[in-house]
Amino acid sequence: MSIPNSLPPIYLDNNATTRCAPEAVAAMLPYFTEQFGNPSSMHSFGSKVGHEVKAARAALQKLLGAEYDSEIVYTAGGTEADNTAILSALKASPDRKEIITTSVEHHAVLHLCDQLEKDGYTIHRLKVDGKGRLDLDEYRKLLTDKVAIVSVMWANNETGTLFPVEEMARLAHDANILFHTDAVQAVGKVELNMADSAIDMLSLSGHKLHGPKGIGALYLRRGSRFRPLLRGGGQERGRRAGTENVPGIIGLGVAARLAREHMAYENTQVRALRDKLQAGILAAVPNAFATGDLDNRLPNTLNIAFEYVEGEAILMLLNKQGIAASSGSACTSGSLEPSHVMRAMGIPYTAAHGTIRFSLSRENTEAEIDRVIAAVPLIIAQLRKLSPYWGENGPVTDPDKAFAPTYA
């Protein structure tokens, strides 16, 4: 949808995707034209490219705090990395038919697990409490020798809630079970030190950290049992066949370096802006609350549930003012369910349909946040005025009785 407004747009949907850093774009450009060689080739066209790919790999290794650069396997993105990790574990341990994951994973893991369930695997989906936190006792009981892999996200994309993946990986490790984490939202925002971690595999995506789309990586601990998803030419040491996405790899290398440089900024300035946005909106809008584990979440993410209004309508009115955010609710035929994350947290229906995610980046300014704080209360009031669940000064006393449709 076009932005029908003369005000400069404000982008607060960085958990969906980020702007590719201009430095990354500039570094990539030569690799489409003069540096077009295939890094596997024997001639000088290829070898120079191979050298730069190695440097980019080292930059990503540094961001992850990995011990070896060979622990990085480039993929087409986070989804491929997630699929590769889980399917590899199943292939490597054909006798183990169980998977442990959570009910709030990204679809890249959740929908794969749904399919594997149809294929006969047993999927344990860990529940979360009202703040989106896991019950580690439930987890411990499931760690048996039937489990092929545990896959738990590092940070939730909708609420930003962080999960204790390091501790969970140690527990899995003690039980001799592979541990994978979808760290797509965490990489670049959370300090990582894979060299001192029990995590076997970690997925990341370039475009979530101001890198290009179409490139991601699977961190694969040296010595972890692995079976490739794609076989063919021996690229990525035979672990992911297919000619390297050289411009993508170069761009991700620059993005990784920039992310390291901005790590402190992300956790101080960006966090402060996020906190200001949260306080500003909640002070001005009644019947609204922030969701997730507020003391333990990504510094850039804010998810607010607005009662008695619907998310898409909020987004459209925000968009009209040039403000880009996202909503967990997907209001389409037959799936009038709010997001699986909100449902898993038990957010009441009165609020679950009106959840809005604001996800910031290092590019946002305080002036932008002020504009959003000014805009949101009016939008919510406007929609509540239309809502049959909202009276003159607040929600109707008993929504179920006040609105009695012929069917529900």
Binding site: A313, M316, C331, S333, G334, P338, L386, F403, P405
Partner: protein, 295 residues
Amino acid sequence: MWDYSETVKEHFYNPRNAGPMADANAIGEVGSISCGDALRLMLKVEPDSEKILDASFQTFGCGSAIASSSALTEMIKGKTLDEALKVSNQDIADFLGGLPPEKMHCSVMGREALQSAIANYRGEEWADDHEEGALICKCFAVDSVMIEETIRANNLCSVEQVTNYTKAGGGCSSCHEGIEEILAKVMAERGETFQPAPPPEKTRPGKLSTLERIRRIEQVIEKARPNLQRDHGDIELVDVEGKTIYVAMKGACSGCQMEALTLGGVQQQMIEALGELVKVVPVKLKTPPPLVNPS
């Protein structure tokens, strides 16, 4: 984001007739907050004429739900109840310049609120008979409940049959996996196993051999002839050059006022038979010179 028409956006940003109506004498309520959309339609009906003097709505829901509600109130104002009942959900969608397939249910909700309000005015019971499942076929907006019920009612066992009955899967074909899953489930209920049909013969009309192409052209001509002969006319194939098919109209057909119409029909059948765009062009047959006895 959804590709909403300008009219949808306009009605969402500036909804008409929004808000409670104190003196409404017909109220229809559909949906619920747990479903994610709910609509209350309020009408002021003139008792003698049953004319809708005023209409207003309150809606909790997405952009197209609010736009559909707004459109509905505009469409029914001034109509009698019987006239209003003729407004279908497709009419609401058309009024809005179309809705994405995933959002057609918003127009259905509008239509149901209208039925419910009129039933309320007339003191009748109105029961919703409409259950909605997950959207399977996006090309033709067919949901899982519709597919499932059709398979069950008609004992269907192939994707092709499902397409013939519901249209689902007849477009881009990317929902065939979903249709197969429903087939497998329903067939299991009746103790059968779903067997995928062999992939359909790819008809590549462009790849017809010259012989096959001519044969099909002749078949179309032969099929057309009896009708023409009944009217004391006839048609004859003269030549084929690339995408142009030359025919001669004979007898009463030659110079007939309906000639263009006849040729149009033949051309349409040619296009269907050959699977390519062709032109049917009438030519005058040169009458052979009379035989002159040399002696």
